[in-house]
Structure formats: structure tokens, C-alpha cells
């Protein structure tokens, strides 16, 4: 470095020596401290605690829902039974699905053929096979005492747009089958929970006429119970007891209405 450079440097050093404002110093130093400061306990654990709380809450809500509506996942299959079981007394069963692609209808209709083959046969309703079918289904529909009555009557038939071409000119039996399948399809279309009420409302019109039809033609268990009640009235208690025992054996899941129970139970 030459002398002239030194002289220039000395002159330059003579210029005012500006410094940054104190406020700026404070802001920069504070930012530097914040950047390396360890997070507090609350900040460090905030995220994990939040996640844990959400999980616990979700688990609790799930438990609560299950407790309030137990077996909600089993209710759907039980409700689909009436569509197949009811075929026993009057209406013919459904034999084939209507080409539904949904899983639930398929499951329902998978069970249908066997039952329908059994019940659709033109045999008297007192046949043991039909009775066995009723016994099977009765356990599923025990909260619906006369579930067999809840079968859609032929008048309730509405042609399904998804019906196969073969059903375009249905025979009376086919029409009745479709009448059974239609509410089933409607139920399958409904979401398991959110649309349960809608499904109920869709069944209602079909059930109403069916119930009236059932009152006209009492079912096998009903007739059985009537017979036992008659025995009681005739003071043939021994036979009535025996018949009642047989009835219970025959229909283990059948729920006897209170009025009927009062008439048939041992005195």
C-alpha cells in the first residue's frame, strides 16, 4: 500500500462513523435469541397432546355411539329378512336379484333363492320345511313379532327399472317376487345409518297392505297359538301345556304377543 493510499484511508476514517440505531440493534439481537431459544414445554408438547386428545375423543364418541345404538351394523341384515321370510304364507318368494350391482342386495338375494325355493313350493303352510324356515327367520326378526306379515302385497308392486329383460312380461309370481325385491333394493340403496329412516319410510307403504293381508290369513304360529288358547278355554290344560311346549320348541325365537300370552300360558 502506497503513502497516498494511507493518506486516503486516514481521510476516509475521518468521515463520520455511523452506527445502526439502538432499536435496530435490539430487534436483530432479539431475533437472534428467539431463533436459538429452546421451545417451551407447552410448545414442544402442544402437537402430540392435541393429536392424543383428538384420538381419545374420537374413541370416546365411537364408544358412545355404539352404546346408544347397539348392533347398528347387524340391524340391516335383520331388516332385510322380511323381504324373504314373508314369502311363507301367501306371497311367493323372490328367486333372483334384479341385477343389482351393489354388495348388500347381492347378499340378501343370495339367501333368498334357498328360502324362496322352499317357501315358494305350492305346499301347505304347515309343512315342516316352511316351518323350519320360519324358525330360522324368527330369531332374526324377534323384535318384529309378526314379521311374516310385513310382506309386501302384490298390489305394492312397482316395476323396477333395473329388472332384467326376462321380467318385462312377468307372470303373476314374478311380479310378486319383484314386489319383494323392490323394497329390498330400496333398502340396499340407502346408506346403513344416515338413510335408515328413509329406508323405513320406503318400507312403510309396502308393509301397510301386507299387514292387512296377514290379518286375513293368520300365520302358522298364530294358528298354533289360537289352537292352544282354545285348548285352555276348554280346560284341556294338559294338552295345552304339551302343545305350548311343542310350540316353543318349534318356534324358539318367536315372541308371543302379550294378549296371546295371557290366553295360552299355564294357569
Amino acid at each position: 500500500m502506497t503513502d497516498s493510499d494511507d493518506k486516503l484511508l486516514r481521510r476516509y476514517r475521518g468521515l463520520s462513523r455511523e452506527e445502526p440505531p439502538r432499536a435496530l440493534d435490539g430487534a436483530i439481537l432479539a431475533a437472534a435469541r428467539r431463533a436459538v431459544a429452546k421451545p417451551s414445554w407447552s410448545r414442544r408438547w402442544a402437537a402430540p397432546v392435541s393429536i392424543a386428545a383428538v384420538l381419545v375423543l374420537a374413541f370416546g364418541v365411537t364408544l358412545e355411539i355404539q352404546r346408544e345404538e347397539p348392533g347398528i351394523e347387524y340391524r340391516e341384515p335383520a331388516r332385510s329378512e322380511p323381504a324373504t321370510v314373508p314369502a311363507i304364507p301367501a306371497a311367493p318368494p323372490m328367486e333372483s336379484p334384479t341385477g343389482e350391482k351393489k354388495e348388500e342386495p347381492r347378499q340378501a338375494t343370495k339367501q333368498a333363492p334357498m328360502e324362496s325355493r322352499t317357501v315358494a313350493a305350492p305346499r301347505p303352510m304347515k309343512e315342516p320345511v316352511a316351518a323350519a324356515k320360519v324358525r330360522e327367520s324368527a330369531s332374526a326378526v324377534k323384535d318384529e313379532p309378526f314379521a311374516t306379515e310385513a310382506r309386501p302385497a302384490p298390489e305394492a308392486f312397482t316395476p323396477s327399472p333395473q329388472s332384467p329383460p326376462a321380467a318385462a312380461s312377468p307372470a303373476p309370481m314374478d311380479m310378486m317376487r319383484d314386489a319383494n325385491v323392490a323394497p329390498l333394493n330400496a333398502r340396499a340403496m340407502a346408506a346403513p345409518r344416515a338413510k335408515a329412516e328413509m329406508s323405513e319410510s320406503m318400507q312403510a307403504p309396502a308393509r301397510a297392505p301386507a299387514a292387512s293381508g296377514a290379518s286375513a290369513a293368520p300365520s302358522e304360529p298364530q294358528r298354533e297359538l289360537e289352537r292352544i288358547a282354545k285348548l285352555r278355554e276348554d280346560n284341556r290344560d294338559e294338552e295345552a301345556d304339551k302343545a305350548l311346549a311343542e310350540f316353543k320348541q318349534k318356534y324358539p325365537g318367536f315372541r308371543i304377543p302379550d294378549a296371546m300370552l295371557a290366553r295360552v300360558r299355564p294357569r
Binding site: 497516498s4 493510499d5 439481537l29 437472534a32 431463533a35
Partner: protein
């Protein structure tokens, strides 16, 4: 023995905020003047100065002591200034060869003794001459005299060749000498 700048910066990256305070105290004046004299407005200079330190803070974990801390610091400052000049529509290199006449500072006769008046006039002329230098030459001069960087470090900080840095510094010194009448 006092810790070097590089050790202080590594200590700060490791969580020692006291190390940053030591670094800041050591370099704040020079960096502030470098930024202030590279621009016209003090407000903008303060904003850029703060931004440079914020980038140092944010980049603490990426810092590797491959070069001097001051080289890294003034590289950040240079890049920030380039961004600023670009935003203003100015370019460093385009003004490199600009050969403006150095402005003559107006002397205030006042009532001070003649020697003091003469010294003040000299400083005023130097200040005005510095402000009138092309951006690239002024930056090289400030990096050399404020930041204490050598030619090689200036070249690194400004991303230019050493010859170019050396040439710019020589041009700047000559113009300033002419301005203060030392040639």
C-alpha cells in the same frame, strides 16, 4: 484468546446466542456503513442492514467455515444490495465504467479557523466523491476499507474475477484521490 468469527458463528449455530452478540458487536458498524454508503436513503439502508442480519440468523445452520466469516457476511450483503438495485432498475456492472465527474462539495465558509474549514471541506469532497463513484467501484472500495476484505475475498463476495475486483479498487482510489486533491 478470543474466539475467531468462525468459531463464534459455529457456537451460535449450536445455540449460543451470546456468540451472536459478540459477532454482532464486532461487525455491526462496518456493515452498517457499507450498506449506508452504498445507497442514498438511510431508511432503505437500515431495512437492508436488518435483512442481512436476518439472513445470517436464518442461515446459521448452513454456515460452513470454508471461508472467513466476513466474506460470508459481505456476500450476503452484496446479494441483498444487488436485489435492491435490480428492483430499482440499476445494475452493478452496467455502471462499472461510468465515468462521472466527481461532484465538488460546496464549502461552508462559516467562522471556523481556516485549517478546520479546510479539513471539513476535504471530508465533504471525499464523501461526495464516494457517493459519485460507480456502484461496483464504490462497493469494492467499501468492502476493502469498511469490511477489511482483501482482493480475493472481494472477488468471492461479489462473484467477480480477482482482476476485475483489483481494477475496480484501483479506479475507485484514483478518483477519490483526485477528489481530495492528493494526486
Amino acid at each position: 484468546m478470543a474466539a475467531s468469527d468462525e468459531e463464534l458463528m459455529l457456537a451460535y449455530a449450536g445455540g449460543d446466542s451470546g456468540a451472536f452478540e459478540a459477532l454482532y458487536a464486532k461487525h455491526k458498524g462496518a456493515l452498517f456503513r457499507f450498506v449506508l454508503r452504498s445507497m442514498k436513503a438511510r431508511g432503505e439502508a437500515e431495512e437492508i442492514y436488518q435483512d442481512v442480519w436476518m439472513r445470517v440468523i436464518e442461515g446459521r445452520l448452513r454456515y460452513a467455515p470454508q471461508a472467513k466469516f466476513t466474506t460470508w457476511l459481505y456476500t450476503i450483503a452484496h446479494n441483498r444490495l444487488v436485489d435492491h438495485w435490480r428492483a430499482k432498475g440499476l445494475g452493478v456492472v452496467s455502471l462499472d465504467d461510468e465515468d462521472k465527474p466527481v461532484a465538488e462539495a460546496a464549502a461552508d465558509p462559516g467562522s471556523e479557523p481556516p485549517r478546520i474549514v479546510e479539513a471539513r471541506q476535504t471530508l465533504d469532497r471525499l464523501s461526495a466523491a464516494l457517493a459519485a463513484l460507480p456502484l461496483a467501484q464504490r462497493e469494492v472500495f467499501l468492502l476493502h476499507h469498511e469490511g477489511g476484505l482483501g482482493i480475493a475475498e472481494i472477488a468471492t463476495a461479489t462473484g467477480s474475477a480477482e482482476e476485475a475486483a483489483k481494477s475496480r479498487l484501483r479506479y475507485a482510489m484514483n478518483k477519490l484521490r483526485e477528489a481530495i486533491g492528493d494526486d
